[in-house]
Amino acid sequence: MNGSPITSWDGAEAYFTFATSPGVIMVILIISVVACFGAIIYGGLHENEAYRHNMPDLPE
């Protein structure tokens, strides 16, 4: 995958991967946001499972 937005360093400014591809930038950004908040949800589920393991009568 060619992520480079530049072909030469002469006059280069924003040179981060996919800097000139706003659609790709948006997809990467959205995946990052989903991963971030998905991790919190996953952590919460794991936490409740751990409590239930020690407290089987814990309400759902």
Partner: protein, 440 residues
């Protein structure tokens, strides 16, 4: 002769360009190392929070603290930096520019922009500091998922909105009221402390903290030396934090966050004098090394709003006053039935309040930049009320919603077993020297 003049002119232009780039890189380096020093704040909070926990919860407290830092970084990238830049006028964003939005060309490697990355990094560490302040208050009984939602709300939304209002060159609090808070006593410490208070009311105390008659028990920290060392590390990191509060303009005098002339020397005088005053005040009041080191922080916060202005012995006296009275505020909070495990509300909320109001009492009359009003007690009081409300209301409301959804508090039975045993896959002290010594 003409050729020599042309060569000389070219050399001069090259020298000027080299000097300008050297100055730009110096500024970039300055904020890089301020950010690095601020990471030490988090080493300190980690030690402080784990030391303050009982041995059965030490790793769970550490996990919570580390995760606060980890989640603040991306969320401040996603939304926080944009909030700072877009909301100086209040609740209505300025949408005239995408600068600060996570898809903007400034938000990544850019050879035409040496500033955005290091400023974003410094603000990210300020944000992580607010989340860590809150983190200590709620140890040993908050669910991690609830904590993370609240930490992100505080670190990547609430405090940065407060910074946009009161810690920004055109923020409405300074533009309309001359609000002055160079060291972030209000925008970081009051907001974080009052946010913590709002959450603590809904979260409730740790199991065993209060008796049926309302009297309080001491739930002893399992490692006080670790806690005290952590507090000293926080102090070390605050030299990065406060360095990051002043603007380096290559080739010119420093300016503070409001664009007024300042010097780093002023910050050095008053940070150290406030620090020592806070320790001495807390020592006189308590003789307790935990409070003495907390007093060092309190002293800095009490001087923080006017770090660029005070006669240093005045910063010392403000610190002394804060170090003396804040432990009393902690006692009152406990009497009110609120279990703030590390004193986050008194240290940061009340310490910051003294800092903001103190600046109005002692530094009224200092001019602002052209067109904005000078410092007044009235302006500082308005700022203090705004910062308290901006911290307390979201903390209280959102934690009440999470409580209503049933995932704010760790069940009491689990608290009694211990969080480490319940959900941490490793043991803090497998050799069993702390908290598990067999009876003689």
């Amino acid at each position: 002769m003409e050729q020599q003049l042309a060569e000389l002119s070219d050399k001069l232009a090259a020298l000027e360009a080299a000097q300008a780039m050297s100055s730009t890189i110096n500024a970039e380096i300055f904020y890089w190392w301020c950010t690095g020093l601020m990471v030490i704040i988090h080493a300190g909070f980690l030690a402080y929070e784990m030391g303050s926990s009982r041995s059965k919860n030490v790793l769970a407290s550490g996990i919570k603290n580390i995760l606060a830092f980890a989640f603040i970084v991306p969320t401040l990238f996603f939304v926080g930096w944009w909030i700072y830049l877009a909301f100086p006028n209040g609740f209505v964003p300025d949408l005239s520019s995408t600068y600060g939005a996570p898809w903007d060309v400034s938000m990544g490697p850019n050879l035409a922009d040496n500033a955005t990355g290091v400023f974003w990094a410094a603000f990210t560490l300020f944000a992580a500091t607010t989340a860590s302040i809150f983190s200590g208050a709620v140890i040993e009984r908050i669910q991690v998922s609830a904590f993370l939602i609240l930490a992100i709300l505080l670190g990547s939304v609430v405090w940065i909105l407060g910074a946009s209002w009161g810690w920004h060159p055109t923020g409405w609090l300074t533009a309309k009221f001359g609000y002055h808070d160079v060291g972030a006593a209000g925008v970081v410490h009051m907001i974080a402390g009052f946010f913590a208070l709002g959450v603590l009311i809904n979260l409730g105390p740790r199991v065993g903290k209060f008796n049926a008659d309302g009297s309080a028990n001491d739930l002893h920290a399992h490692n006080v030396p670790f806690t005290i060392t952590g507090l000293m590390l926080i102090i070390v990191g605050f030299f990065g934090f406060l360095g990051g509060c002043i603007i380096y303009i290559p080739g010119e005098q420093w300016i503070n966050i409001y664009g007024q002339p300042a010097t780093l020397s002023a910050f050095a005088f008053n940070t150290l004098m406030g620090f020592s005053g806070g320790i001495i005040g807390a020592w006189v009041k308590t003789r307790d090394p935990f409070w003495m080191m907390s007093g060092a922080l309190i002293g800095i916060f009490c001087a923080a709003s006017g770090l660029d202005l005070y006669y240093p012995p005045l910063a010392f006296l403000l610190g002394l006053f804060g170090g003396f009275v804040v432990p009393m505020a902690a006692k009152l909070l406990e009497k009110a039935g609120i279990d703030d495990a590390v004193g986050a509300f008194p240290v940061h909320g009340i310490g910051g309040l003294i800092g903001v109001v103190g600046c109005g009492v002692f530094a009224s009359g200092y001019p602002n930049v052209e067109g904005f009003p000078p410092i007044t007690l009235y302006g500082q009081l308005i700022g203090a009320v705004v910062m308290a409300a901006l911290g307390f209301i979201p903390g209280y409301v959102v934690s009440a919603l999470i409580k209503g959804m049933g995932f704010l508090r760790v069940p009491d039975e689990i608290q009694e077993i211990g969080l480490d045993k319940t959900k941490v896959p490793i043991k803090a002290y497998p050799e069993g020297s702390i908290g598990t010594m067999p009876a003689e």
